[in-house]
């Protein structure tokens, strides 16, 4: 089954989020590594951009973006363990 736009964007967020996590943990033990800092900044920027894009199109990733439109959108989208592909 071809992946939906929603799933494709979520995969991108997961990949970028992983790069950010991995870089953060590396920086914990190498806090002055310029190359790692640059890598972190680049991927963190792309991650924030992708999250913004996803939340505008498909619904909140954090509860802080679940308000507005007179509806609590936190409960209108599935939780991630369901493995559903819309």
């Amino acid at each position: 089954m071809p992946k939906s736009e929603k799933t494709k964007l979520m995969c991108r967020i997961q990949a970028l989020g992983f790069a950010v996590t991995e870089a953060s943990e590396y920086l914990d033990s190498h806090p002055t590594c310029a190359e790692a800092l640059e890598y972190f900044d680049k991927h963190n920027e792309e991650y924030k951009q992708a999250v913004k894009e996803y939340e505008e199109a498909f619904g909140p990733i954090t509860a802080s973006s679940a308000g507005s439109d007179r509806k609590w959108k936190w409960v209108t989208e599935p939780f991630p363990w369901e493995g559903e592909d819309e």
Binding site: M10, Q14, T21, E25, D28, S29, I61, E77
Partner: protein, 198 residues
């Protein structure tokens, strides 16, 4: 504190339920070397770590382990979705079913429930970090054993990701241990607790 992100760290999407696999994979949720014990170990140990770097390593890896607990739970949930009584009997899933139906409960593959006795927080950075190095290796071995038992690529894929993380975290804890040992010298190297003795 923490804020929940409505996403898994790595995708889990299993097409075919298989309760027999859930019976063994559950050890990485609530077993002796599972993700719950990993998370509680590091998040408990971080307070008395003697350097900011080691505090950060324990904090951030402990946080990532919470996301791994969620991935394992998602695997278990999807492997036990929409089962018939016949499938439950055939897979030998009755022992779990009788106590938990298909609820996700932290226990080892043997059925022993999760206990905090699986980990230590000793208040000695060298002692704690050496335990953490061993914990990552034990979890990696468990993933190796699971990968010997599991054929379904939908299940193997997230298990392989989690196995890789054990290897990277072993590396980070090794660097943390080196940082702590670099603080010591020949006068205090032995019988000295860098978290307590000043």
């Amino acid at each position: 504190m923490w804020q929940y992100e409505k996403k898994l760290q790595y995708p889990v999407k299993i097409a075919h339920p298989n309760p027999a696999l859930a019976k063994v994979i559950i050890s990485q949720l609530g077993g002796p070397d599972g993700e719950l014990s990993a998370s509680m170990r590091y998040l408990s140990q971080r307070y008395t770590a003697p350097t900011r770097e080691v505090q950060a390593i324990l904090n951030d890896i402990g946080t990532e382990e919470l996301a791994h607990m969620e991935m394992i739970s998602a695997i278990l949930y999807q492997l036990t979705k929409n089962l018939t009584m016949d499938e439950i009997r055939k897979a030998g899933f009755q022992d779990y079913f009788v106590d938990h139906t298909t609820g996700i409960y932290p226990q080892a593959a043997s059925g022993v429930p999760f206990t905090a006795a699986y980990f230590q927080s000793k208040g000695d950075a060298i002692t704690d970090l050496v335990e953490d190095l061993a914990a990552e290796q034990k979890a990696r071995t468990t993933y190796d054993n699971l990968l010997r038992l599991v054929d379904d690529p939908d299940v193997r894929d997230p298990l392989k990701f989690l196995r890789e993380r054990e290897i990277v975290h072993f590396q980070r804890f090794g660097e943390g241990l080196r940082l702590v040992q670099d603080m010591l010298d020949s006068k205090n190297y032995y019988a000295f607790n860098p978290s307590f003795d000043k």
